[in-house]
């Protein structure tokens, strides 16, 4: 159960629909001649979402690799945002140059996370293409990076945080909440 | 300013005269007399202990040559603020006080600027280098009360034997800073033990002090010259002293406040306020020193007041000079540890260890309240609670390990030659 102060923006059923929609959008954009596709989730919940998207793509007949890209080393705010927590590990394919890398995150706001993720991926090599897929875009861009695929466009009160919860990471809760 | 006082109603403790009773003390023109002095200032000493002025026989006044650390003026003011009416100045000045000219300079300077009485000591050897005897006879004429190479220790036992023989001619005791340089050389920085191992600092083993105490036992026994072992720190030194004294050897010892209260664990933070020579050691050493005080083996308390300029101590540990100040905290620490916390001795013994005992060793004409003696008095409040604040020290030095300590016991007034040179602000 979410904390009582939170406002439910999207319930569990809505999340399932959104994930499906995201998979549809992605599959359509990749088309037939998609080459090697890799879903790189941004920890923590982006990784959960990436795994679910992998299943969605499989339903569309697209086989995709799945991993994670930890952006901690690429952030532009070391020291500004409270203490550092342990690094979570990056798994990207070897020989990245042939691959289409789809960065996957749960919520997009300022764009800084996406920027860091792009830089992290480029540290591994020169992928064929980088795409950005997010479950929810809540606006408030500070860097001109817009997701290629968005399932939910939400707005929230200024200063409030928009949080996605997945069963695997949040004690069985599913939904999008405003905190 | 008048040098006559009537001090009324205090508890009079005068170990030299065997007195411990309530009563009044009178000073006329700077000398104790047996009846009240008409027109003299009245001092109410009720609730206080009236002692002969305390004597600190181990003080570094740093003049000549090291005035940035302390001067005779500031050092004696610190003494007064600590309740001391007499200090014995060590000769490891710059230049070393190893000939009568320097002694005369110090005596003259003290007469002009000293807030309390200053007694001088001369070096045993030229430059305290441990080779040739200094002109001890001439220095005796200039007024020294003892010889010492303090800061250093004569390593060559034959030289020390000659010195002991020679001093007999002048009736001067030798004060020895007991440190064997082969076991504890100039790089030795703290007690050799668990903490020196863990901190990676070169150790100063107990044995380096004990071995020299042992040689002093033999030399004193052979020559008859009194040898006084300074700032004792090691358990074995107390044992050697006790055994020698039992045989009638004229060996004495002194102990400083830090060796009764601090252990080597205090150095874990590399704080240079705990870097002194000899180093603070372990709890068993503290127990042995307290035992030595309890049974009279150790008869004298002193400070080894060693001021340094702030910038000299605020460096990496290896580069810091040894030493801490002590004049303004000693009485408090001694009362706190010996009277209150550990209850090792009673007040009259404490007073003796600061008055009659050092006076006797150094043949000083003071350390007593008996009529005819110079009118030096320390008014002590053994229960007075206070907190050490190094920022208000009269000494130039701020290097104390006791900053912030809550102590019970403090001098409240210091009187030298019938004149109050310091009084605790209420």
């Amino acid at each position: 159960m979410p904390p009582s102060a939170d406002l439910t923006l999207v319930d569990a059923a809505g999340v399932a629909l959104a994930v499906g929609k995201l998979g549809d959008l992605l599959a359509e954009a990749l088309g037939g001649d998609h080459g090697a596709v890799f879903l790189a989730g941004i920890p923590t919940r982006g990784v959960i979402l990436a795994r679910r998207l992998k299943n969605e793509l499989a339903r569309h007949g697209i086989e995709a690799g799945c991993g994670a890209v930890d952006i901690a080393m690429y952030r532009d705010d070391l020291g500004l945002r409270g203490g550092v927590t342990p690094l979570r590990g990056t798994e990207l394919p070897m020989g990245i140059d042939k691959w289409t890398i789809v960065l996957v995150d749960d919520v997009q706001q300022t764009g800084r996370t996406a920027r860091a993720a792009i830089e992290a991926v480029l540290g591994f090599g020169r992928p064929r293409r980088i795409l950005l897929a997010v479950l929810a875009d809540r606006g408030g861009r500070e860097i001109p990076i817009r997701p290629d695929f968005t399932a939910l466009e939400l707005s929230a009160r200024p200063g409030a945080k928009v949080r996605v919860r997945f069963a695997e990471t949040d004690d069985g809760t599913e939904g999008v909440f405003e905190e | 300013m008048s040098r006559s006082l009537n001090i009324r109603g205090g508890r009079i403790i005068d170990p030299a005269a065997g007195r411990d009773e309530s009563g009044d003390i009178f000073i006329a023109d700077g000398i104790f007399v047996s009846s009240p002095v008409a027109g003299a200032q009245e001092i109410d000493a009720r609730g206080l202990v009236v002692c002969p002025g305390f004597i600190d026989m181990h003080v570094h006044l740093r003049e000549p040559g090291q005035g940035a650390k302390e001067t005779i003026e500031t050092g004696t003011k610190a003494a007064a603020a600590g309740g001391f009416t007499s200090v014995v100045a060590m000769p490891n000045t710059n230049p070393v006080a190893d000939h009568p000219g320097i002694i005369a300079w110090m005596e003259e300077r003290a007469a002009r600027f000293g807030a309390v009485n200053v007694f001088t000591t001369g070096a045993i050897t030229v430059g305290s280098q441990g080779d040739q005897l200094a002109p001890i006879g001439s220095m005796a004429q200039a007024g020294i009360v003892a010889v010492t190479d303090d800061g250093r220790c004569v390593q060559n036992h034959e030289v020390m034997r000659r010195a002991a023989e020679y001093c007999g001619l002048f009736g001067l005791p030798i004060l020895d800073h007991c440190q064997d340089a082969s076991m504890a050389g100039p790089e030795a920085m703290m007690h050799e033990g668990y903490w020196s191992t863990v901190l990676g600092l070169p150790g100063w083993p107990r044995m380096a002090e004990e071995i020299i105490v042992a040689r002093n036992v033999l030399l004193s026994e052979a020559t008859g010259t009194p040898i006084h072992c300074q700032h004792l720190s090691a358990a074995g030194s107390v044992r050697l002293l006790r055994e020698a004294q039992a045989r009638g050897v004229r060996l004495s010892g002194e102990v400083c406040p830090h060796h009764l209260t601090l252990t080597d664990e205090a150095l874990a933070g590399y704080d240079t306020n705990f870097k002194m020579n000899p180093p603070v050691r372990e709890q068993p050493d503290i127990e042995a020193l307290l035992g030595g005080i309890a049974d009279g083996t150790i008869g004298i308390l002193a400070t080894d007041h060693a001021p340094h300029a702030v910038y000299e101590k605020e460096v990496e540990f290896a580069a810091a000079p040894f030493g801490i100040v002590g004049l303004e905290t000693a009485v408090g620490v001694f009362c706190e540890v010996l009277l209150h916390r550990r209850q090792v001795i009673e007040l009259p013994r404490l007073v003796a260890m600061l008055t009659s005992n050092p006076a006797k060793l150094l043949k000083l004409d003071r350390g007593t309240l008996a009529p005819g003696a110079p009118g030096d008095v320390t008014l002590l409040d053994p229960q007075r609670e206070w907190t050490v604040d190094r920022e208000v020290f009269a000494s130039k030095g701020r290097n104390t390990p006791f900053h912030g300590w809550k102590l019970r016991g403090r001098a409240v007034r210091t009187i030298v030659g019938g004149r109050a040179v310091w009084e605790l602000a209420s």
Binding site: G79, V84, L87, T90, A120, F124 | V198, V315, E316
Partner: protein, 311 residues
Amino acid sequence: MIWTRKDLLGISALSAEEIVFILDTAAEFKDVGKRRLKKVPSLRGKTLINFFVEASTRTRTSFELAAVRLSADVVNITATTSSLAKGESLKDTAKNLEALAADLIVLRHSAAGAPQFLAERLEAGVINAGDGSHEHPTQGLLDVFTVRERLGRIEGLKVGIVGDIRFSRVARSNIWALTKLGAEVILIGPPTLVPREFERAGARISHRLDDVLPELDVVNLLRIQHERQKAGYFPGTGEYAALFGLNAARAARLKPGALVMHPGPIHRGVELDGSVADGPHSVILDQVTNGLAVRMAVLYLCASVALREEA
């Protein structure tokens, strides 16, 4: 947990959790070394000063490379090139460096406690690269990292440290790291060079390498220094090598899979034979690689706190 220290002065003050945090972070940074672009922007625009009052080429190079891979700007200062040679105090020199906006200072100094002295007075993060005989924390960390990477764990292992323990900061840092993580530490060397006080820290002491060799999972060999020979701590490198050198015959008695380590530089024929240094048990070169990763981790973690305090 969150990393909260702006300085790394030694391992003795760290908790087991903090040590593991550093090791896990180092593992991530080791992976960076395998990428095409071996650099991350974490310390871009920040300044690190390698202040090596006591000389060292290998450690300094390792720290410099670690900083460069974090995109920091690096300045190297030695005792001779610094104003310390002109009599300026350590404190004033460091204050001057800070006035030049140094964010991190890596200090190697012959005086134990010197990094702590600076850390207490500077806002910059201070990393101890070796202070006298006290500690060399990044060496201790890279040593346990290497063991963990190769053997999968630290707890329950028997680790022998051989040589001049008395004067070794590497030995001390290793003793703390290993005991905190649950290993059994055995200190091996001549009685004059192995202080009994370390038993109080939880270590075992042996003066016969041959007796304990077969039970060791790791043998860490320390450099034997000529200064000790001159000061009378042991009679000579020949006798030392005969009693405590890990020669080929001794190496043959090692457990299968046992690791041979050395902080470097090695004296072939004294602490160990050339064949052992190059042999299957040796992880000496891994130590160097891991040193880089560990130092990147340490700089990254301490910077996150030091920079916060500036902001």
